[in-house]
Amino acid sequence: MTRQIPIRLFGAFRQGRSDATLTVEIDTDARVSELRQAMSKALDSDSARALLKASAFATDTEILDDDQPVPEREISILPPVCGG
């Protein structure tokens, strides 16, 4: 069994894209590390893949660890931050 995960994109991941979401397919019981692999395959440039390595997956309430199961909630990918 697999499921489709729409990943919300922010910051540099939006560079040169018209949409703010990237959808990938993972196993139903996949962990965040597998989501990371699937997203890496779906990205179209080395610079985006390098950015992904420094980026965190998150829900609306928490940053996810790589060994957590992917929760049934909206998932975002957060590049390194620089507010202010």
Partner: protein
Amino acid sequence: MIHVDITEAVLDPLAALSHCCADSHGAADLFIGRVRNLNEGRAVTAVSYDLHPVLCKNIFAEICREAQGRWGDHIHVYLVHRLGRLEVGEASVITAVSSPHRAHSFEACRYLIEQMKVRAPIWKQEHYVDGDSEWIKGHALRNPA
């Protein structure tokens, strides 16, 4: 009292100072971050801020509660960040704290801005005089693998 927000509207220092006020508070410190015309040697004309609204407000609230945990539940805490495109000189963030004595106001206000910068899901794209633009490298949120 805690107030956090993200907004596309121009930031209002007086709103921050109204929130950070109490008859028992003899001190208030307010910090404003503004868009600079120069970053790492490049002439900047504007900055576009992208952010994750819900998570951002959650993190802001968490940082504010931490400040109350360290400097006292009675302190008033304010943290608002702007969203969208800002010209040079416009305020991108306001943090403010009021407390009975001044040391706590200064320390807690500084804590808010320092923590916000490394933990809040906010991204900054600089627009340069030469027409180029660039997403600024920042602090990784990813927990060490």
